[in-house]
Symmetry: C2
Subunit: 237 residues, 2 copies
C-alpha cells in the first residue's frame, strides 16, 4: 500500500487534508508538532482523535519547542499578544511563526525517507492563510524542487497541498462531502475549552461554515456578529 504522511495540526484544514489522503487510497502516517503554542494540549487531543478516526498506521508527535526559544510570534511568545481577528488586515499577522512550515516539512521528509512514503500532505491554504508566506503555492513548488535533489533514495517523494487554492467554504464543503470528522478538529489560537470566536482562525473558520451553508459543530465562547446573524437567519428560514 502506498504511504502518505499527513501533517495534522488538529485544525479543520488538516482534518480535511487527512480525509482527502485517505480518500485517495493512501495508508496514513500522521505527524503532529508541538511548539509551545498556547493551545498545544487541545490541538494534540484533536490530533489523536483524528488519527483514531482514520485508523492511522502510525503517528509521530514531535516537539519543536525551539521555536518558542527563538520567539518572534504571538503563538509562541507570551510577550506578544494575539491580535483580535481582522480579516481585512493587509500585513502579516503577529501569529506568524517564522519559517514554521519548512521546519515541519523537513521533519516529515526525514520520516518519509525512513518509511519510504511517497507523499507528504499539508493543508496549507493560500487565499485564506492570513498572508503567511509559507502557505503560498510557490513555497511548496520550491520545496518540491529541493526534494528533487535532496534525498538519498529515489522514492519519488512530493509534497501535496490539496487545499492550496481552496477557500474556507470549499474546505468545509469538501470535509462534509468526505465525512471528515470536523467535530474533532480544533482551530482556535487562543482558547482550549471553548473556541474564542475572536481570533483570526476562529473568524476564518466560522466564515467558511457560513459561506458553505453549514453549522460548525464545535463549541464557542461567543460568536462574531456575522455568524450570529447567519444563525438567526437560518433559524428564521
Amino acid at each position: 500500500m502506498r504511504k502518505a504522511i499527513v501533517l495534522v495540526s488538529g485544525g479543520m484544514d488538516s482534518c480535511v487534508t487527512a480525509a482527502i489522503a485517505k480518500d485517495m487510497g493512501y495508508e496514513l502516517y500522521l505527524l503532529h508538532t508541538n511548539y509551545g503554542q498556547r493551545t498545544e494540549n487541545r490541538e494534540l487531543k484533536a490530533f489523536y482523535d483524528i488519527a483514531s478516526y482514520y485508523d492511522a498506521k502510525d503517528t509521530l508527535v514531535v516537539s519543536i519547542d525551539y521555536l518558542k526559544k527563538i520567539g518572534g510570534s504571538a503563538l509562541t511568545d507570551e510577550k506578544i499578544e494575539v491580535e483580535k481577528g481582522n480579516l481585512n488586515r493587509k500585513e502579516i499577522p503577529k501569529t506568524y511563526v517564522p519559517f514554521r512550515n519548512a521546519n515541519i516539512l523537513s521533519i516529515a521528509t526525514s520520516w518519509a525517507e525512513v518509511i519510504e512514503a511517497e507523499r507528504i500532505f499539508i493543508g496549507a491554504v493560500e487565499e485564506d492563510s492570513s498572508g503567511y508566506p509559507d502557505c503560498r503555492k510557490i513555497f511548496y513548488d520550491k520545496f518540491n524542487d529541493l526534494l528533487s535533489v535532496a534525498l538519498a533514495k529515489d522514492i519519488g517523494l512530493k509534497v501535496e497541498t490539496p487545499l492550496i487554492n481552496m477557500k474556507k467554504k470549499d474546505i468545509v464543503k469538501k470535509g462534509v462531502e468526505l465525512n471528515a470528522p470536523l467535530h474533532l478538529s480544533w482551530s482556535c489560537y487562543k482558547s482550549e475549552d471553548k473556541a474564542c470566536g475572536e481570533c483570526d482562525s476562529c473568524l476564518l473558520r466560522l466564515k467558511g461554515f457560513m459561506e458553505a451553508g453549514e453549522i460548525d459543530p464545535i463549541p464557542y465562547e461567543k460568536f462574531p456578529e456575522f455568524y450570529e446573524t447567519y444563525l438567526i437567519k437560518r433559524r428564521g428560514v
Copy 2:
C-alpha cells in the same frame, strides 16, 4: 553590524566556517543541534569552546532528537552500527541522517528571521562529504531558491557554503591561515575521549591534515596506517 548565523557542529569544517564568517566581518550567532548522536556531549563542548574563542554575540542550542525517534541512521539509531571508514565506498554511508541539514537550516532560518541576520553559514563540503545528498551545492542552491519566496521580511537572507568546493586539505590550510581553533574542534563519530581514528570522519580529517602538511592537534586512540607513515616520514625529515 551585519549578523550571521553559523552552524557549528563542533567539527573541523564548522570551526573553519566560523573563522571565515568572522574574517568577513560578521557578528556571529552560533547554532548547534543535538540529535541524540553518539558523541553529543563532546560536540557540545567543542561548540561552546569555539563560541567562546570567537566571542559569539549569542548561541542557540536546539535538541532535534526527533531524528533519533525517526531513526534510519547509524548516528542516531543504536541498532545500526557505525561502519569502519572506507574512503573508496560508493554508496551513501549508514551514518547519513535523512534530510538532516534541511532540518538544521530551517531552524537557522527561523532564528535569522527573528534577529534579522543576513547570512547563514554552513560548512558543508561536496567532495569530501561521504556522498550525503544534503552536502551538495545543488541542495543549497535550491534551499536559497526556497528562501527567496519564504520569508515574511525581506532581509536578503542567504545560505553561504564557503567550503562547498574545498577539499579537506584546503580546509585545514584555510583554518591554519585564519588561526581557527582547530585544537578545540571534534570530528569523530564514535568516541568522546580520544578520537577513534577509524571512522569516516576521522579518516577524512587526518587525510586532510596530512595532505596540508600539518599535524592534527587533537588526541587519537590510534592512527590509521597512512597517517602513521606520514608522521614517521615527517619525523625523519
